[in-house]
Symmetry: C2
Subunit: 244 residues, 2 copies
Amino acid sequence: MTTACTDCPLRKRPCFQPMSADELAFMERFKMGEMVIDTGTPILMEGSNSPQLYTALSGMGLRSKSGRDGARQVINFVLPGDFLGLQAGLMREMGHSVESTTQMTLCVFDRSALWLLFRSHPERAFALTWLAAVEESFLGDALFTLGRRSAGERVAWALLRLFQRLSVLGMADRTSVPLPYRQQDLADALGLSLVHTNKTLAVLRREGLAEWSGGRLHVPDPAGLAARADVPEEDAADMPRPLI
Amino acid sequence: MTTACTDCPLRKRPCFQPMSADELAFMERFKMGEMVIDTGTPILMEGSNSPQLYTALSGMGLRSKSGRDGARQVINFVLPGDFLGLQAGLMREMGHSVESTTQMTLCVFDRSALWLLFRSHPERAFALTWLAAVEESFLGDALFTLGRRSAGERVAWALLRLFQRLSVLGMADRTSVPLPYRQQDLADALGLSLVHTNKTLAVLRREGLAEWSGGRLHVPDPAGLAARADVPEEDAADMPRPLI
DNA sequence: CGACCTGTTGATTTAGATCAACTTACGTGG
DNA sequence: CCACGTAAGTTGATCTAAATCAACAGGTCG
């Protein structure tokens, strides 16, 4: 049985904006169904198009681009609430691939109904554009991190970001959150080698700032980690964002 | 005297999508006026909000983020047709700053009318979201470049991109385009030091792939430069994109 | 049990950063 | 008209953060 948008467990979280009854009714119609996918399944392919758009309901994945020689760049980590396929929906094709890291449940939308969304529900279109702007903002931050920060700062930045995102989603258990990725994924996200990422993680562990093992990330002192990453203790994540 | 949207010299270019008479009429009303700004003027500030949104009509500038220690990351180069202030218009604040590099003419829009745009002109809202998706796609590409490419590939990639963008805007004169930036700007865009950027430019010059001097970039063989950058001779730029 | 995947650690190499001069070009003011 | 200051570009010498290479350990799965 699929979850009705009315009962969406995600939307109840304070990190998401409330939705009017009318909007909810529309989303219910817009949603084609749900899809459960396995660990390590490709969802969208770079350069291709897709008749479907998705919102991650549960589980985690990642967005990535890969070059001809096999080099891979992780663009972002996909967490519950993330919208997938905007580029496919608007432009001809995706600029990156999306794949699952754990088992995931996805809300499935019909790409061709996207235009209807703009036409009949401007507040939903506004929300969608907002999400695009949030992603753009994040990518700018990531670009700064790859371009100007040291390995230690990069790793601290990424772990802090993930910790914050997972926390506002209510997935934190005291000082720890689930983090089912491999070190290789983090390395590919930060433009570092696997070996150096591993050594940098060891340093942060020794400093008592972040302990990532067994698929869980422990951050006893987020402010300390923020200082290590040389970022102002983020508050941007506080503002509720839309959910599609 | 300000240019009427009907007579917009930019929109006539084939790289932009055509607009219906109705859309044009709306844009005319949406546009508050024009603004001519001088070289080196800040347009939007990171972390702040703005009552106005802009489209670059002529001139060049750049988007950048800077860290507390003065480190600067150039996010993208601003060319005619670029929309400025999306983040300010939707979220609370800008994630990056925008400043002019040459004298620029900007079309000025009222931020508070943005909602009206979504409500009454869905095809314009669609166009705006499309632009956001284009930017997101570009940033993904940039992230890949900073994370996984060598200095030579980075510089080649950036110069090729600029050459292509300026070419479709009709600003190319045979094999050369105007490029009024400093080497420091390019270095800050690519996450390289100024000195190394300079040396890398010298290599590309010696290889006969790109010659950038006196504010002009000469690219005798774009395909060769693309090969040097290790990118498939881009065709994505061929598809017309919307203009706001 | 052996193959494979992920993580860990040490030794060595290298791409690019940093440091330091020096050159042009372009004002600006005496 | 020239002295001076400043901004951009260029080049060589040196240093270092991170890559690469290599080996091994613990888990898991067929």
